[in-house]
Symmetry: C2
Subunit: 458 residues, 2 copies
């Protein structure tokens, strides 16, 4: 063990050091992310229009491109204290195993029952709904991390929580469903007979196992029909990235405490919520010209929004009910293969990250899932923690960068986001152990067909 | 929220404050726990005899009734630093929910992939095996927490790990099995054809779904046939209690830091490993006359070793291969009902705890599982963390004591051990949600029949 005396395994911040403000990276962006558009009019969504779907305070956050620091309400900070500050861990054992001179750090966000960073935004969105006097919220969930996080937040605040869970996940992950029920949420397999859109889809495709796009449409429909409810979303949106900045702010505070400056910052990217959260304050320094960092987004080859997608306006849901967002997208009609990183199976990408990537401020790479699981298993054996398949994309990339350092002898400092745990992904690990895991990349023709169906705007 | 400014939600110790010595409570006991007996000779097991099954250093710890402080080797301390010090949490939200003036604290041991405190002893036992130049270790696992912990420790040290998993758990908890495989362990459903004892049992009971006692016998047989292997056990033994004292030492250090003195200390009890670990330093003060505390062991009504058992010499395994231990026991032939707290389904109890209980130094109570799951769900909704069914026995008892304070107005300080997480117990939660959970207590006749088969010693 090459334990450096001055740097502990885990750098903890005290509760007093928990950030008091979220950081709004859009305030420092020269090229702002493009606004959401009303699909019917082609015009930017107004606060009033957005307010029919989202809570007022969240609409304000969604549209706020100018204020750099947004105060975290005391009630949210109190909830954060139940599982935050999250530790920044030095991966001493992994470094030793790789034989690299690189110094690897990871910010672990799995220390709560939802098993991921999703709770950071779930409690914020639930809080503002409660503050607005609403009775409850609706949402969709795929892999189940977001639904679990929202259930926990709603249980804490006494809000009703209706989750539409993609039917195949509902059936394949019964334990995820039970966790949500433990926290008092109602969980409905989607498509369902409870909504018009669900009934329509079931009539057209009686045997369908559902999709995230369909579940979003059902959740939005339910919320829009009851003025005491609003819809909430766990990724992609600006407001979500804002809440997730707590990850990067804590990571930076922990590093600053020991005078550590990362050279490379790595995160997995599905809708982009953890990545934007992790890199936000570092990106802010880069945007302001105060420091330079390399940022790497890691996505699955099965759903390569950054590396093979188009930067264009597109729908966030398959049902084309939601507003249009300008983002790197594979097309809302693209259906990614059923890989084991359910949290990264979204056709689009955060508009903020998309703009930053478009402006050349960050890099992206795509990885095959068998490589990801090899990295996950090696990490688990060295570092103890069993990582989620999603998080393991970042582990893979961090290991690759560390191995490059081994060749060059450079002592680079690598920071990556360990977004969650893999307790509910053991079926995927089993497939990996049994050699039954296959890799798949969409054919160019498949992507071209989806691009051809992109809405004609821009 | 009635947040007291001076007491944070979570009291963390720094890595420097991680204890350097385990505390051996036997050194302070006036009435020492009775020695293990050789079943064949009826005489106390010698170090040499024990050395055929256990590593030498662990044998020394097993027999050491005199040294109060046992140095934790640096290598073990380094491993501890990967997930320790574990936080001591103030249950502010639960207190508020109960409306109690009591102050409730819990020591959370689930912040590692094994999901429980078992890792504290697994790394110690694996370390001494490695140090002795052995190739590997064998063990049994029921609920799977111990097997997972040992797999993690062995992966870290590069030791071979053979786990015999009770067949019904192997089939009902395939994800537990996959976690162990992720950490490189071989996992065999027990009874198996790999051992003489397994083949014998399968010949006699072809359809058996196995038992902990049978799995122990198989693991011991495999270890005893290869000089490069030793058997390791996750509870009951003195050495395990010693390693687990890290729990109580950290809890006490955290409380001392803020001048908090607990009135009541509560833990669940199966074989007793977490309970002895949690109470050890406090019990030491009580034994030395320096302070007084109430200690409460909480066990399931289905397996009531303390509350309905006999204090007598008995076998630790059903196969009667292991030495005899003097303990509170329901008889090694007693088969507890298949409840959902698999970690508490052991017929006996730690000899150290048994002696302390016999001497009137602690209390015990038994709880029905539906009450336990009600407490578990309430706790999850308030405090966020999803507790293991085993741990939830302690939650139930802590809530009961807090409700008594509500009646009397007393501001008692309650400390309980939250030993682990319930991620792999969602099948049990599902039964609870669906109203399919039943309670069961063994009939007096059933216990009398098992007592009648106790070995005639004492």
């Amino acid at each position: 063990m090459k334990l450096e005396k001055e740097i502990p395994y885990k750098i903890y911040l005290s509760e007093d050091e928990l950030p008091r403000y979220w950081y709004n990276v859009r305030a420092d962006m020269k090229n702002k992310p493009a606004p959401l558009l009303n699909a019917a009019t082609g015009k930017p969504m107004t606060a009033e229009e957005l307010g029919q779907v989202f809570c007022d305070e969240l609409v304000a956050q969604e549209l706020n491109d100018t204020d750099r620091d947004i105060l975290i309400p005391t009630e949210i900070r109190d909830f954060y204290k139940m599982y935050r500050p999250a530790p920044l861990t030095r991966a001493y054992c992994l470094e030793e195993k790789l034989g690299t001179p690189a110094k690897i750090y990871y910010k672990f966000e799995g220390n709560n029952t939802s098993g991921s960073h999703k709770l950071n935004s779930a409690i914020a969105q639930a809080y503002y709904a409660k503050k607005q006097g609403l009775k409850g919220v609706t949402t969709e969930t795929g892999a189940g991390q977001w639904g679990t996080a929202l259930s926990m937040a709603c249980a804490y605040l006494g809000l009703d929580c209706k989750v539409f869970m993609v039917k195949c996940s509902y059936e394949q992950k019964p334990f995820r469903r039970e966790v949500m029920r433990t926290y008092g949420a109602s969980v409905t397999p989607s498509p369902s007979m409870e909504t018009a859109v669900g009934r329509k889809i079931l009539a057209e495709h009686p045997g369908t196992s559902g999709s995230l796009g369909c579940a979003i449409s059902e959740a939005v429909e339910v919320a829009s029909k009851d003025p005491a409810y609003r819809y909430v979303l766990g990724s992609v949106l600006n407001q979500v990235g804002l809440h997730q900045s707590i990850i990067g702010l804590e990571a930076k505070a922990a590093m600053d405490k020991y005078g550590i400056k990362p050279d490379i910052i790595i995160g997995c990217a599905g809708g982009g919520s953890n990545l934007i959260g992790l890199i936000a304050p570092f990106m802010g320094e880069k945007l302001r010209g105060e420091a330079d960092y390399r940022f790497i987004a890691v996505e699955p080859v099965t759903c390569p929004s950054f590396t093979r997608g188009r930067f264009a306006y597109d729908y966030c849901d398959t049902g084309a009910i939601c507003p249009l967002a300008k983002m790197y997208t594979l097309g809302s009609s693209f259906i990614p293969a059923a890989t084991h990183a359910g949290g990264l199976r979204f056709h689009g990408m955060s508009p903020v990250l998309s703009q930053l990537y478009h402006d050349g401020l960050m890099e992206a790479m795509a990885v095959e899932q068998t490589r990801v699981f090899e990295a996950a298993e090696m990490f688990a054996r060295c570092e103890g923690t069993l990582p989620a398949p999603e998080s393991s994309h970042a582990i893979y990339a961090a290991m690759q960068e560390a191995l490059k350092c081994k060749e060059t002898g450079e002592e680079k400092v690598i920071l990556f986001g360990l977004t969650g745990t893999g307790y509910f992904d053991m079926y995927a690990y089993e497939k990996f152990h049994n050699g039954d895991m296959v890799d798949y990349a969409p054919a160019d023709e498949e992507l071209e067909a989806a691009f051809a169906r992109l809405p004609k705007i821009d």
